[in-house]
């Protein structure tokens, strides 16, 4: 009887210590996740897709408060660069051309719609030729899908 009691109390002790270990494991995991997010505050994602015999390259650089994205169409030229973000009042989306001028604004629509759909602050570089609406639409779709997939989007304010 005494042996059973001591075995039981040992069992209870070990179960209680197991719970404590689980808690510390969770705390360690949380701390590790925090460390990971501090150490890798910049994330780079690159991928390519072939759409109707055209190769589209995508490069997404995620900074803590901003996203830089590059879309390459069959080449690795930088292309035109636009900045887009929500601005006051009413969080309307504003776009401006940084490099390349506004005579061909293939990327500005993409940049604007990325901000509309994802709520992110975006710098977009894009060398898709103008008058390629299908290509532009495909590229935008792919990029937005990837941004959502990577979990970079901000929840929309109601």
């Amino acid at each position: 009887m005494a042996g059973e009691v001591s075995a039981l109390s040992q069992l209870v002790d070990s179960v209680e210590s197991m719970k404590v270990d689980e808690k510390s494991k969770q705390q360690n995991a949380a701390a590790a996740a925090d460390d990971a997010s501090d150490n890798s505050s910049v994330q780079i994602t690159c991928f390519s897709d072939i759409v109707n015999d055209v190769t589209l390259h995508f490069q997404i650089i995620r900074l803590r408060n901003q996203i830089y994205a590059w879309i390459g169409c069959d080449s690795a030229k930088l292309g035109r660069v636009y900045a887009a973000a929500t601005t006051r009042p009413h969080n309307t989306v504003s776009v401006t051309s940084i490099i390349g001028g506004v005579s061909d604004n293939t990327g500005s629509g993409i940049a604007r719609r990325i901000v509309l759909k994802t709520g992110l602050n975006v710098i977009l570089a894009c060398n898709i030729p103008k008058d390629s609406l299908m290509l532009e639409a495909n590229a935008e779709k792919k990029l937005v899908e990837k941004l959502i997939d990577l979990g970079y989007t901000r929840p929309k304010a109601s």
Partner: protein, 123 residues
């Protein structure tokens, strides 16, 4: 649609340095016709500058550097871009797009950025 994962055409490097106690993330990308350098301490691209070597054929090269987005009243940022384009132009005539999102604009920080980028050059 097929997905190509290998042989991405843009060469890039990512590193992190500590400059005067501020963690600085530096990303260097080499495109077909530009170099892009991002150095950030604040989590955004900050001020964006464009720098290129002028096309004159002369003994002493000249460079054009301008701020294209952001702070236009910080001469140290322009000086940093000027230093970097001079380093780049020893190897190639491609222009540079430099983005600096910094907490301080001291000479020490900017020198640190120039040396970190040149140590990890892609040109």
């Amino acid at each position: 649609m097929s997905v190509l994962e290998q042989n991405f055409p843009v060469v890039q490097k990512k590193l992190s340095v500590d400059l005067k106690g501020n963690k600085t993330d530096i990303i260097i990308c080499s495109y077909d016709d530009h170099f892009l350098v991002i150095a950030t301490q604040i989590g955004t691209m900050g001020t964006i500058l464009h720098a290129r070597k002028d096309a004159d054929i002369s003994v002493h090269p000249t460079f054009s550097v301008s701020v294209i987005f952001g702070k236009r009243d910080e001469p140290m940022l322009v000086a940093c871009a000027r230093q970097l384009i001079e380093h780049i132009s020893s190897g190639t005539s491609q222009p540079l797009v430099l983005s600096l999102g910094l907490k301080d604009h001291s000479a020490e920080t900017l020198k640190g950025i120039v040396s970190a980028v040149t140590e990890n050059r892609l040109w």
